[in-house]
Symmetry: C2
Subunit: 384 residues, 2 copies
């Protein structure tokens, strides 16, 4: 258990916290406010941001789409350069915040921003970012990672760099009041899988990391099972803080990491526009069944400590079945349907495998056990 860990993002958690950004952004810096489809204009968040920035010089960039594309974000990069932007405020969920990270790094680079994603440019400078979270899910508000899509080639890739980690993250649970049900549930599933990627591995014996991961999973299970009562302050606050903790680096410090579900899931989203969280629910149960021998100790531990099962000879299957049943209970499908991939199952699997190969995803998982052949076997069950 050796690691280096720090999380320098200042968390401003609670109702009414958006106004605090005025003290968190240097008075003399010119700000770009980024957001998505405009829901923040309906739910009052835009007004709160605007009020807080009344003493600042700022412009805005809207229309950041889910699974943001480099093509669209490059327009904001050009704005940052032309307008000499010094600080970026991302108002949104993971897509807007990930987009802000790309823009922050690309705005300090003379070449093509996509170079960052393919490893041709190592980020050495970035504009500072502040995040105002409107959708708890990805943890992007206090980590250094971003996932960006190139629309023209359907490549969905990620990069990690401490320079793009937000300086602060405002987490006001009230912003969740107007979220569509689908997004709320996607966030819950996304956070669940984030924990699993850092917990359901071959590693054993890390008592803090495992115990924290089990806490977050139990929270998500409780909140999901209590979904019908989600319209209250405590439910919202607990989901928001749980989803943040799921991917702020803490439970993953010194732990083994899998992320194979994410890597395969990214291809489904890039190819077929499946929601990110749904792509994970499609891949994960099949992947866990495929890897159930390698991961058996941890899956059993999860069955006992998270689901409350007693030890028995079917515990591994019982636990994976319970996870799949949990997704289905939330209305989240666990197979890629024919309507989504528009062709035969065999054709769809071939296309996905080709993209994985193109992106170098040929030995995934904490023990690099998931080769392309293994991914193919996983997809046999995941694709209808």
């Amino acid at each position: 258990m050796n690691f280096s860990y720090v999380n320098p993002t200042k968390i401003q958690f609670g109702q009414g916290q958006i106004s605090s950004i005025k003290e968190l952004i240097p008075q003399d810096q010119k700000v770009l406010v980024m957001y998505g489809g405009g829901s923040i204009k309906k739910n009052g968040v835009y007004q709160q941001v605007s009020d807080a920035l009344s003493g600042h010089q700022w412009i805005e960039f809207s229309g950041v789409e889910p699974n943001p594309t480099a093509e669209h974000l490059d327009k904001a990069v050009a704005v940052c350069k032309a307008e000499s932007i010094e600080f970026i405020i991302a108002v949104g969920g993971g897509s807007v915040i990930d987009g802000a990270k790309y823009i922050a790094a690309a705005a300090c680079y003379d070449g093509d921003g996509w170079d960052i994603l393919v490893g041709k440019h190592a980020v050495d400078k970035a504009l500072p970012i502040g995040a105002i979270l409107t959708l708890p899910a990805t943890g992007s508000e206090s980590n250094s990672g971003a996932v960006i899509t190139k629309a023209s080639t359907r490549d969905k890739l990620s990069f990690l760099n401490p320079l793009v980690q937000p300086k602060f993250a405002v987490m006001d649970p009230d912003v969740m009041k107007t979220l569509p049900e689908r997004q709320l549930i996607n966030g819950l599933v996304d956070a669940w899988v984030h924990v699993c990627e850092q917990y359901l591995t071959t590693a054993a014996g890390n008592m803090v990391q495992d115990g924290y991961a089990e806490t977050l999973l139990k929270n998500l299970l409780t909140l999901g099972r209590d979904y019908e009562n989600h319209d209250n302050d405590q439910w919202r606050a607990n989901l928001m803080w749980t989803a943040n903790q799921a991917l702020n680096g803490l439970i993953g410090a010194g732990a083994a990491h899998d992320w194979a579900t994410h890597m395969i899931g990214h291809e489904l989203t890039a190819l077929y526009h499946v929601d990110h969280a749904r792509s994970l629910a499609i891949v994960q149960p099949s992947l866990l069944r495929n890897q159930s021998v390698n991961k058996q100790q941890k899956i059993k531990q999860m069955g006992i400590n998270v689901f409350g099962f007693t030890d028995n000879e079917n515990l591994v299957d019982q636990t994976i079945d319970a996870m799949e049943a949990f997704y289905k209970s939330l209305g989240v499908s666990t197979q890629l349907t024919e309507m989504e991939h528009k062709g035969t199952k065999a054709e769809a699997i071939d296309v996905i495998i080709k993209q994985l190969e193109k992106h170098g995803m040929v030995a995934l998982g904490e023990s690099k056990a998931i080769t392309l052949d293994v991914s193919r076997a996983i997809l046999e069950d995941a694709v209808a």
Copy 2:
């Protein structure tokens, strides 16, 4: 659940990490290395620090005692001023690190350092500190608090300031190999009570904070019960990381805080030189029995989630008894003995109450329910 939280201390965790400090201290800064009684010269830690600092200009200050006194620390303050020290490395446990915090702040102040403890000087500048932890217990390596004693008046007071929080904390579990048993067990008990102070309150419904706190308590219970097998890497790493998490601000963010056990315990240490951890074990069971109506919901939750008890009408008593039995199983007494306070019980209680009154500790606990009369009632059971 409203809070602001950030922990900017960079954690370097694992075997062999002491050497990493050379990259963490600016090359041109003059360093003061502080330590305690010299055990670090026997266990190799001093040599590792010395090797890592071979490119730096540095001097040392040793002899920092447990429950460090302002009188002794002021000598180091004078050294810092005379030698224009720019960075402090604290090599030790909570006493050395707390001492470093006092020195770091007092060295940037023209008046008497004790002014910081009595609130006459608000810290506005401090030398940067790096911590090399040799005794997992207080969490001081990655928080902003310090407890300092004035020997002449037997005042033991605390201060909190983000400017004195260590820039980095090296946590190499190997340093624990040569720790005396008493210190190892004190650390375990200290961490346990730190969690309780932020968990056993009247607050309810914070799922992340409560779940994390229960994880840490379960870890400490498991490690304590497995104490005979403590001589292995995993045991050491788990205790070190658990004790850090117990007081790095995370489980306390957005939670209610008690700290009455600490405030009363500080008086026992200042008056009778009882080990800090032992002072807590003396006060806490009696305090919890006294406050068991106010805190009953959380004590029951602890009984079920930490000790694995089933709900029953004696659950509150059963849980407090189990905590007391846990301390005793580790050889830690839960009463202040006559030999320690040297006088009659009534006299000792009078002296302690007078000190509490002098220090303004007249309404302690998360609901300020612990008045001097309540403290007196608590001490009736805690003092033999």
